[in-house]
C-alpha cells in the first residue's frame, strides 16, 4: 500500500465561453498523501476551486476536463484514473461521497433548505453502504455526535436554517465523513465563518483526519489558515501552479514572486499601516465628533445592541470588531438611523460646533445629517444597482440632494472617480464590467461624493482578495487625510483593524467589552473575550502554530 491517495498529473480544465476559451486549470500536477493536508491557495479566479471540482468531475457547465490524469489509489492497491470516467457514469458516482468526499464554502446554501439534515446524511449512507433506514438513522446520530453537534437525537430532524453557520459546517463534515472517505476535499470551508468558529472547525477536521487517516485537500485564500494546518502547499495563479512544496519552505523560503507577494500582503496586515505610523498622534483633546451614550436596539426579545457607549474624534478611525451576531452591523446602522434605536443618545457635533442628537433628528435635519454621515457596504456587487451606470451611481447623492446637475455633475463625478483611482472614461459603464476591487472603489466614491464628515464602513474589505485589501485600506486612509474624514470601521478581521484603526471597540453579544487604542487592545487585551478572539486568529507563520492551543472564552 502506497501512501499516496491521489495523484494529479497535467490536469487541464477549460470553459468554452462566448469570449473564447478560458483555461481555468492549465496543466496542474500534485499529489495528496494519506493522513496529510495539502493546502491549495490562491486568490479568486486562480482556478483552485475548479481544480477541486475537476477531481470529482462536478465542474459546472460549460467546464470540461480536456487533459491530464487523476489517479486514485485504493486501499487494496488498485488504481483508477478519474479523468477517464464519464461525469455521469456509475463508476465516478461510486467514488463521489464514498472514496472522495467534499465540503463547500457556504454551509447554508450548500445544504438543501427543504430537507432535514438527517435526511441529507441518511441519503449518503443508504446510497453507498446500502444501509436500511433504521441503521442509517442510528449511524447518522453517531456521526452528528462525532462532529460535536449538541443533542444529536433531536438535531437530526431539524432543518439547516435552524443551525448556526458553524453547526451547519459540522453537518456538512458529518455528511462528508459518513462513508469514511480516503480523501476529503474542503473548498474554503471556513471562509464564511467567524474566527473562533473557524478555529473550532479546523480543530475538528484535524482530529477526524488523525482518527481516520484520510488525506485532506484544503482550498483556501487565507495564508493564515494555510500556515496553521498545511503539511504541503500548492500556490495557484491564473490556473497554473506558481509554486509547491512543504509549508515551511513556502513561508520561509518562497521562490516565486507571486507567493512572496501573497505572503507579504498578509504579513503587511499583521502590523499598522506605514502612513499611520508616520502620522503624528492626533490631539486627544479635540471635541468628539460623535458621542454615543447607552445606545440600545432590540429586535423583539433579542437585544442586538446593549447599552453601547462610544466616542469618535475628528479625523480618527474607530474600529468595531466582533463576530457575527455581536451587534456591530446593527450599531452601524443605528448611526445612520436606518434603524431607530430603542434607547440612548448619539450626540453629533456639526461643523459649526452645534450638537445634534442623531437619535432624535427627523425630517429635514435628519436628511442634512445623512449627507454628513455616509456608509460603505460589504458586498460590492449587491450594493450597486446593476441597471445604473457608474456615473449615475456616484452622482445620485449629488443629484437627489440638488447639489449638482448636468455638466457640473459630470465634472464632479469625473473628479470623484479620479480621487478613488478609477479612470473617468469608464463612467458610462455598468457595475458588472468592473472587478470586485474597482466596485468597492465605486462605493467609496459614492460615499465621499457629498463631502461627508463621518463614514461608517461595514466590512468594507471582507469580500476582497487579500492583495486588494491593503490597497483599499490605503486608499481609505489617504482620503481620510485629504478630506479630514472620520471612520467607524466595522470588521471581524482584526488584521484589518490593526492596520488601519486608531482605536478599537470590541463587541460581544451586543455589548462593548473592551475599548482602547489599537495597540493596547491588540497587544495587551484586558478582557478574556478579546484574548480568545485574538488567539483564534491564524498567524501566517507555520513555525508558530497557535490555534490548536488557543485561549477559549466560555462567557
Amino acid at each position: 500500500m502506497t501512501d499516496t491517495v491521489l495523484e494529479v498529473r497535467n490536469l487541464a480544465t477549460q470553459f468554452a465561453t462566448r469570449t473564447g476559451l478560458v483555461r481555468a486549470v492549465d496543466g496542474v500536477s500534485f499529489s495528496v498523501q494519506r493522513g496529510k493536508t495539502l493546502c491549495v491557495v490562491g486568490e479568486s479566479g486562480s482556478g483552485k476551486s475548479v481544480t477541486a471540482r475537476s477531481i470529482l468531475q462536478i465542474v459546472d457547465a460549460p467546464g470540461r476536463i480536456v487533459a491530464g490524469e487523476m489517479i486514485l489509489h485504493r486501499p487494496d492497491g488498485s488504481t483508477v484514473d478519474l479523468a477517464q470516467l464519464h461525469p455521469r457514469s456509475r463508476e465516478i458516482r461510486a467514488v463521489r461521497g464514498r472514496e472522495i468526499a467534499m465540503i463547500f464554502q457556504e454551509p447554508m446554501s450548500s445544504l438543501s433548505p427543504v430537507h432535514t439534515v438527517g435526511e441529507q446524511i441518511i441519503e449518503v449512507l443508504r446510497l453507498h453502504l446500502g444501509m436500511d433506514k433504521l441503521a442509517a438513522r442510528k449511524r447518522t446520530i453517531e456521526l452528528l455526535n462525532h462532529v460535536e453537534i449538541p443533542r444529536a437525537e433531536t438535531a437530526i430532524d431539524r432543518y439547516t436554517f435552524e443551525f448556526s453557520g458553524g453547526m451547519r459546517q459540522r453537518v456538512m463534515i458529518a455528511m462528508a465523513l459518513a462513508c469514511n472517505p480516503s480523501l476529503l476535499i474542503a473548498d474554503e470551508p471556513t471562509t464564511a465563518l467567524d474566527v473562533t468558529t473557524q478555529a473550532e472547525v479546523l480543530d475538528l477536521i484535524k482530529r477526524l483526519q488523525a482518527e481516520h487517516g484520510m488525506g485532506v485537500m484544503f482550498i483556501t485564500h487565507d495564508m493564515g489558515v494555510v500556515a496553521e494546518i498545511a503539511d504541503d502547499v500548492l500556490v495557484m495563479y491564473h490556473g497554473k501552479v506558481a509554486e509547491q512544496g512543504p509549508v515551511d519552505a513556502i513561508f520561509h523560503a518562497p521562490q516565486d514572486d507571486y507567493t512572496r507577494m501573497l505572503i507579504s500582503s498578509v504579513v503587511k496586515l499583521e502590523q499598522k499601516a506605514d502612513i499611520r505610523l508616520a502620522r503624528p498622534p492626533a490631539p486627544g483633546a479635540a471635541q468628539p465628533l460623535l458621542e454615543v451614550r447607552n445606545l440600545t436596539m432590540r429586535f423583539g426579545p433579542l437585544t442586538a445592541v446593549d447599552d453601547v457607549s462610544l466616542i469618535v474624534r475628528p479625523g480618527e478611525t474607530l474600529g468595531i470588531v466582533g463576530e457575527s451576531g455581536s451587534g456591530k452591523t446593527t450599531m452601524g446602522r443605528c448611526l445612520l438611523r436606518v434603524y431607530q434605536p430603542d434607547a440612548g443618545a448619539m450626540a453629533y457635533r456639526r461643523a459649526d460646533g452645534s450638537v445634534v442628537d442623531l437619535a432624535e433628528a427627523s425630517g429635514d435635519s435628519l436628511k442634512r445629517l445623512r449627507r454628513e454621515i455616509r456608509m460603505i457596504f460589504q458586498d460590492p456587487v449587491g450594493s450597486l444597482n446593476p441597471r445604473m451606470t457608474v456615473a449615475q451611481v456616484i452622482g445620485e447623492p449629488l443629484l437627489v440632494n440638488g447639489i449638482a446637475k448636468g455638466r457640473d455633475l459630470d465634472d464632479r463625478v469625473a473628479g470623484l472617480m479620479r480621487q478613488v483611482g478609477l479612470n473617468p472614461d469608464w463612467r458610462e459603464r455598468y457595475p458588472h464590467a468592473f472587478s470586485g476591487g474597482q466596485r468597492q472603489r465605486i462605493g467609496i466614491a459614492r460615499a465621499i461624493s457629498l463631502n461627508p464628515r463621518l463614514i461608517v464602513a461595514d466590512e468594507a474589505t471582507s469580500a476582497l482578495d487579500v492583495s486588494l485589501r491593503a490597497q483599499m485600506l490605503d486608499l481609505m486612509m489617504q482620503l481620510q487625510d485629504e478630506l479630514g474624514l472620520s471612520y467607524v470601521f466595522i470588521s471581524h478581521d482584526i488584521g484589518v483593524i490593526r492596520y488601519m484603526c486608531d482605536r478599537v471597540a470590541v463587541m460581544y453579544r451586543g455589548r462593548v467589552v473592551e475599548t482602547g487604542s489599537t495597540d493596547q487592545v491588540c497587544d495587551a487585551p484586558s478582557h478574556d473575550y478579546t484574548k480568545a478572539l485574538l488567539s483564534a486568529i491564524p498567524r501566517p507563520d507555520p513555525r508558530h502554530r497557535r490555534i490548536h492551543t488557543r485561549f477559549r472564552y466560555a462567557g
Partner: protein, 328 residues
Amino acid sequence: MLRFLVIRLVWMIPSLFAVSFLAFVLIQLPPGDYVTTYIATLAASNEVVDQNTAADLRNRFGLDQPLLIQYAKWISGILIAGDFGLSFEWQQPVSELIWERMALTLVLTVSTLIATWAIALPIGVYSAVKKYSVGDYIFTFFSFLGLAIPSFLLALVLMYVAAVQLGQEVGGLFSQDYVNAPWSFGKVLDLISHLWIPVIILAVSGTASLIRVMRANMLDELNKPYVTTARAKGLSEFRLLVKYPLRVALNPFISTIAWLLPNLVSGSIIVAIVLSLPTAGPMLLQSLMSQDMYLAGAFVLLICALTLVGALVSDILLALADPRIRLE
C-alpha cells in the same frame, strides 16, 4: 398553526361583507335596472310596456326600495336561509342555477389543470436542464407559439377540424340527447367525449406560459450550491434533480392555487362562449349584461369567497411544503 387558521378565518368575515356590499353597489351602478333592460328587450320585439306595468314589476322585484334595504334583504336571506334570491332573467332560484354550472366548471378546470401540469412540468425541467439545446429551442418555439395564439382562435380551428374532419358534434359539453337528461353513466361518457376540445384549448395557452415559468424556476435552482453538494454525494443525475432543485422549484406553483379557484368562475369566458360551454363564465357575463343583480351578485360573492379560500389554502400548503415558512 391552529391560531393562524382561526385568525385568518375570522378576518375573512369582514372582508366578505365589505366585498359583497361593494359588489352589490357596483352591479347597480350602471344606469337603469333589470326592468329597464327587460323593457328594452320587449321593445325590440315591438311590445310596448306602459309605465304602470313597469312600476308594478319594480315593486314586485323590490327594485323601488333604497339600495341599503335591498342589500340587507339579500345578504340576510343568504345568511339565514342560504337563499341567494331569484334570478330575474331565468325566473329560477340563483342557487339552483349556479351549482350545476359550478360543478361542470370544476370538472373542466381540474382536467385542464392536470393536462397542463402533466405536459408543462416535464418539458420545463427538460428545457432548463438542457438549456440552449435543440430540444430546448423547439419547445421554446412552440411555447411562444402557444402563448401567441389567442385561445378563441384555436377554439374555432379545433371546432372546424372536429366538425368537418372528424364529423364530431362540437360545442357544449353534452350531445343533444343528454343536455336535459338526468345524470347517468351514459351522460358521463358523453361529457368525457366532449371534454377534450375545451381541455386542449385551455391547456395550450396554460402549458405555454407554465413551461416558461418552470424553466426559469429550475434555472434559478440548478446552479445553487446544494445541487453541487448532492452531485458530490454520488447521487444519479435524475434522482438529484427530482429530489433537490425540482422540489424547490415547485414551490411557486403552490401559490398559483390562490388564483386558480377564482378563475373557476371568471376564467376563460371567451373560449366558453365560442364553444357554448355550460360553465360559469358565460352566465356571469350574461347576468351582468342584463343587470340580473342577484345572479351576478351571487357570482361575485363566490369569486371573492374562492379568492380568500384559495389564498388560505395556498398559504397552508406552502408552509407544509417549505419548512422555512412559518405561519405566525
